[in-house]
């Protein structure tokens, strides 16, 4: 796709595409020197790699405990869903909903949407382009929020330090979950939303 005009993502200056589809040449922005590309490098390969890795890590993130609490009487292991269930049983339904959205809904949404976007670029390029573009922007916006539980466990472990009386430590599940969050962020950034509009009738024209 040689649209003819490239916008610099760093400074916004528009330049003519002089490289086209030649993969051996790289064009830089004449004003700020940033790389100008019609598409990000290997967008589908990188997105698939991160999405698949995130989906695999999502299993231990949910099965292994994210948080271990110890008190004089007992030692408890809490998984992601278990923690939400406890909040629900305590009557904190609002909090349970917030944590559910941040820890379960957002990561699953990101993995599912990116897989759908990467799949449709090849298989159904003309299918509901505007809706797909909006889905991409949605996961770009909500992406950060899945980090919430990582921060909560780090904070609880840092303040609940009363030795044998009461203490909190992070479990192996938290490591996997942090990996899921970082991988889904990288997957979002490696996907190129311009691929959704490849071969669109308006491509290359001036609106």
């Amino acid at each position: 796709m040689s649209a003819g005009l490239l916008g610099c993502e760093s400074c916004g200056l528009v330049s003519a595409d002089v490289v086209g589809d030649d993969p051996t040449r790289v064009q830089h922005c004449p004003r700020c020197g940033h790389v100008l590309r019609a598409t990000k490098p290997f967008p589908l390969q990188r997105t698939w790699a991160c999405v698949i890795a995130a989906a695999i890590l999502y299993v231990p993130a949910n099965v292994l405990p994210v948080m271990v609490t110890t008190s004089a009487l007992q030692r408890d292991e809490h998984t992601l869903l278990g923690g939400i269930h406890e909040l629900w049983l305590d009557g904190s339904w609002g909090l349970a909903a917030v944590v559910f959205v941040a820890s379960i809904a957002v990561p699953v949404l990101k993995i599912a949407v990116l897989a759908l976007l990467a799949w449709t670029v090849r298989r159904k390029p003309a299918w509901r382009r505007l809706e797909r573009a909006r889905l991409y922007r949605l996961i770009e916006v909500v992406g950060h929020w899945s980090m919430l539980d990582v921060y909560v466990v780090v904070l609880l472990a840092a303040t609940v330090r009363f030795g044998p009386l009461a203490s909190v430590s992070a479990g192996l599940g938290l490591l996997s979950f942090a990996g899921v969050v970082v991988l889904t962020l990288l997957a979002t950034w490696s996907f190129d939303p311009r691929l959704i509009w490849r071969d669109h009738p308006a491509d290359g024209r001036l609106a």
Partner: protein, 200 residues
């Protein structure tokens, strides 16, 4: 290198080129094809962004140097600042989690402020800081990794969860974090590309 017309803008989301017209006050220009935001009428001058950034720097220093919360249990009290919480996670053997938290809640916000100050001070008197282009690119990355707003909600959530276990009280850092979140949102609303409009 062919330099195209200055009055063009290319949609970041779909790559379609548009003729650029400055939107009316409080209006948003959207891409005619994919509906993404092309640009807004910016109400913030370089001086006001600089003022907001200086304020953010002051509040951020409070946020990282004072306790986030204090927990009391049977006469003993424990409190932690943001860097202490990250250091404790590292010492507890959660090195990767500590690094992720440090990058997203400590380093990215610090770079967000420091690089803006470095670029904006000379720009406010019409000068271009050495390495300007490089700083703007780094600022783009700092903005992507900055999750201070999520961290702020994380502190609130931790406080609520601790309330049942022991006597938990918020520290000065929590209020400072709230202010940092609001200031960052105001600074980010101006974007980064407008910085180049002031370079001759």
């Amino acid at each position: 290198m062919v330099r195209a017309e200055q009055t063009l803008v290319v949609c970041e989301q779909c790559g379609l080129a548009h003729r650029w017209q400055v939107p009316a006050e409080a209006a948003v220009a959207r891409c005619t094809r994919c509906d993404a935001v092309l640009g807004r009428s910016h109400r913030l001058s370089i001086d006001s962004i600089l003022a907001l950034t200086v304020a953010a720097a002051a509040v951020y220093l409070v946020a990282i140097n004072t306790p986030l919360m204090t927990l009391s249990l049977r006469g003993s009290a424990e409190s932690a600042t943001l860097p202490e919480a990250i250091a404790l996670a590292w010492q507890a053997g959660q090195e990767i989690v500590a690094v992720v938290a440090a990058v997203t809640a400590l380093l990215a916000p610090a770079a967000f402020i420091a690089l803006r100050l470095y670029v904006l001070f000379p720009l406010s008197v019409g000068k271009k800081a050495p390495g300007f282009a490089w700083c703007v690119r780094l600022l783009h990355q700092a903005g992507r990794w900055n999750m201070i707003e999520v961290f702020t909600i994380g502190v609130l959530l931790s406080l609520v969860r601790l309330a049942g276990l022991a006597e938990a009280s918020p520290g000065p850092a929590l209020f400072a974090l709230g202010a940092v979140t609001v200031l960052f949102a105001a600074i980010e609303s101006a974007g980064l590309k407008h910085l180049w409009w002031h370079i001759k």
